[in-house]
């Protein structure tokens, strides 16, 4: 494992499988009456959020607290950042207070990379989403969810996602979730297809290890998982698509489309969902939709990442089996 987690592309297959296996172990903690491990006692983690994100911040915070870390939450709003203090100064100020790890969410692509590589601070850096670049813990929790559902909770231990066919639908261009998922799923042996209107696919996508399609219906029957990405309504104003209704008709997942998917296939969404846009309520609320499960898995994955980056040397993974649901 590296010292930082900046990009899903930095993870080897073995790194990724180790994180997923460790997360399974962490998930068991959540089933206990006392959901806490002493692993990071005495370590301080700061959640440095320059962008609004309640979900990801709370997920990291829960993970940190379950590992007994001391947690500092820093949000840019109302802080000196809004008065013009730089990322560098903010990070150095926090490190001077004795921070062991920085979980950073930033609107600028590459900000976590700069933080980790510019000699500004020594703390471990975990990317909690940067601009339209990467969101590696999201990709890990997605892979974790897929492995549980498509391979099995116990059967999946030590396994990757070889041969699984994953379809990502929506705003690929502006999505750090898509970039992270393409990198990680490829590393884990899955076959990835991106589906979007051509306007929402980046120029240069041809170098990505995946297929690109413009027709959703053609890919549904060949998908083990369909992941829907949020499409912001404002994109319409920049002429990425004509109307919300046209987008929904062509790329939204409704009950009829879901029926075309193989029976075992799941529907995923990183949230927040725009119901009626990329997903109908019928699909969002169905058993095949893992959106809520993904949130729960997010805590386990973030515990695993924090543990592996900060927790020292003893193995957390015991490979004890739990009963398959």
């Amino acid at each position: 494992m590296q010292r930082h987690l900046i990009s899903a592309a930095d993870l080897t297959r073995d790194d990724a499988v180790l994180i997923l296996d460790t997360a399974e172990e962490m998930a068991r903690v959540a089933d206990r009456p006392i959901k806490k491990l002493p692993t990071l006692r005495g370590r301080t983690v700061v959640n440095l959020f320059f962008e609004d994100s309640t979900r990801t911040r709370i997920s990291f915070e829960a993970a940190e607290k379950r590992l007994s870390a001391d947690v500092i939450n820093f949000t840019a709003k109302g802080s000196s950042v809004s008065k013009g203090e730089s990322l560098k100064d903010t990070a150095q100020t926090l490190e001077a207070m004795g921070v062991d790890a920085v979980v950073i969410r930033h609107g600028a692509s590459g900000a976590p990379y700069r933080l980790a590589t510019s000699g500004w601070i020594d703390a471990a850096v975990i990317n909690a989403g940067d601009g339209t670049h990467q969101h590696p813990t999201q990709a890990l929790l997605d892979a974790f969810t897929m492995r549980r559902r498509l391979v099995g909770r116990d059967a999946g231990l030590g396994q990757d996602l070889a041969g699984k066919r994953i379809t990502l639908v929506g705003d690929i261009l502006h999505s750090r979730v898509a970039r992270s998922n393409v990198d990680l799923l490829h590393t884990l042996g899955a076959e990835v297809t991106l589906v979007a209107p051509p306007t929402l696919v980046p120029v240069g996508v041809e170098s990505w290890p995946c297929e690109v399609a413009y027709d959703l219906d053609g890919t549904l029957s060949k998908s083990d998982a369909v992941m829907l990405l949020r499409v912001q309504r404002e994109r319409m104003n920049a002429a990425f698509f004509p109307t919300e209704r046209e987008y929904s008709r062509r790329y939204g997942l409704d009950g009829d489309r879901m029926a075309k998917m193989p029976e075992h296939a799941i529907v995923m969404h990183p949230g927040p969902m725009v119901r009626g846009m990329e997903i109908t309520a019928e699909v969002a609320d169905s058993d095949r939709c893992t959106a809520v499960e993904q949130v729960a898995n997010g805590v386990s994955i973030r515990m695993a990442v924090l543990y592996l980056l900060l927790g020292g040397n003893e193995p957390a993974v015991t490979h004890t089996r739990t009963e398959e649901k």
Partner: protein, 428 residues
């Protein structure tokens, strides 16, 4: 000012010769010239070029003296072998009046390191709406002939057409920063494979090429000449080549960094590589070198763009665009053009001195190294190899993309009208 004998210099890279300077002019060029009464500079096989001329420099004064001043910028120019620089108009206030251009011009004269020829803004405040008083700037003491809204594109086709037409009255030229603004909203780097991966907003080649195509057609239509700033793509080369073959009066420049660096460097997210137009691909770099060699691109211009440290010591999106370039330009050209066999030193003198002087109308610069010509000269130790150390820069800013990179060649002496501005690599 006495006599100077530059002994054993390879004039334009040719056989070693002696060059005798008397006062402000070259008195004689030959072998075995008498050193009597002259200070002798042993050139020892170094290459002697006419003083370099930069058609595209940002001196930042007035307004951003924290990043550069006319004094520090012209000292940087002298260090890089330049004897004349054209100062871009995007200062605060904008150089859109006779008053501002005369101030910049006078500062250059007073400091005496390098002639400063101000460029006037095309439109008031660089806002692209109303023509600035181009005639007044031309008639001022600064004698402006080059006009540019550089930093911004004159994107309104009618304003561009009018500017092209208007400057014909006094032989001026409009230098266009070719960037279609709508296609580059939020642009952070070249749009392509790397931007797709890094999640940085793309600056597509077509945003440059579409403006160049439009402007060469406008220039043809109204019978004007147009100059293209910092051309950066293979497609732009094709358009300029086509325009020249059609007889359109277009000239173009390329920066040293676009001859050497590619967008792969942006993977570091280090804003020292953030520049406008952005670093492009290897294919573009090779096309630009080829075009500079065959004359499609007329000149090298630095686009020297100083920025204070804090504007680069930050995340990519927050960083300023631009690189300093005066003190490394010749080295980069030696590496990318001379050592690749694409240009000889006479070619370098043409692309970095004679032609930029001709395009900008810098009288007395870019002249041949021969008797009777102004003694604007640059002596280059082409055998030198060394890593770039920004701490040694004369520029007030250090935002170079070459820190620690080994580059060939070093300017040891610069003379401005016979007066040494750089001696043994040290500013006089």
């Amino acid at each position: 000012m006495g006599k100077i004998l530059i002994r054993g210099a390879k004039v334009l890279g040719g056989e070693p010769q002696d060059v005798l300077v008397d006062g402000e002019v070259i008195e004689a060029v030959g072998t075995g010239l008498s050193a009597e009464g002259a200070e002798v500079v042993e050139a020892d096989g170094k290459v002697l070029l006419p003083g370099l001329v930069d058609l595209h420099t940002h001196l930042r004064e007035p307004g951003r003296e924290d990043s550069e001043t006319v004094l520090t910028g012209t000292r940087a120019a002298a260090s890089g072998g330049f004897t004349a620089v054209f100062a871009m108009a995007n200062t605060f206030p904008v150089a859109d009046t006779a008053g501002v251009v005369e101030q910049v011009y006078r500062l250059g004269r007073e400091h005496g390191y390098c002639d400063v020829q101000p460029i006037g803004a095309v439109t008031v405040g660089l806002e692209g709406r109303q023509l600035a008083e181009l005639g007044a700037m031309h008639e001022s003491a600064a004698g402006v002939t080059v006009f540019s809204d550089d930093g911004k594109c004159v994107d309104d086709a009618v304003i561009m057409r009018r500017a092209l037409e208007y400057v014909k009255a006094f032989g001026g030229v409009v230098a266009q920063h070719a960037q279609e603004p709508r296609l580059t909203e939020g642009a952070q780097m070249n749009e392509g494979v790397v931007s797709a991966e890094l999640g940085l907003g793309g600056w597509p080649a077509v945003a440059e090429e579409s403006i160049i195509a439009r402007d060469v057609l406008l220039a043809e239509h109204v019978g004007s000449r147009v100059h293209i700033c910092h051309l950066s793509t293979a497609g732009s080369v094709e358009i300029v080549r086509w325009a020249k073959s059609r007889g359109i009066d277009v000239t173009a420049e390329v920066t040293p960094h676009h001859l050497l660096l590619t967008d792969e460097l942006v993977r570091t997210y280090n804003p020292v590589y953030k520049v406008n137009p952005p670093l492009r691909t290897e294919r573009d770099v090779l096309a630009l070198r080829e075009a500079l060699a065959d004359g499609t691109i007329d000149i090298v211009a630095t686009d020297h763009a100083p920025h204070p440290h804090e504007d680069k010591d930050c995340e990519w999106a927050a960083a300023a665009m631009g690189m300093v370039g005066l003190e490394t330009a010749l080295s980069v050209v030696q590496q990318t053009m001379v050592e690749t066999g694409l240009l000889d030193w006479a070619g370098v003198a043409d692309r970095m001195s004679a032609r930029p002087a001709a395009i900008g109308g810098a009288t007395g610069h870019g002249r041949p190294v021969s008797a009777g010509e102004p003694a604007n000269l640059t002596l280059v130790d082409t055998a030198y190899r060394g890593a770039v150390d920004p701490a040694g820069f004369a520029s007030r800013s250090r935002n170079t993309p070459y820190e620690g990179r080994e580059l060939p060649g070093r300017v040891t002496h610069t003379w401005l009208r016979g007066k040494a501005t750089l001696v043994d690599g040290k500013l006089a």
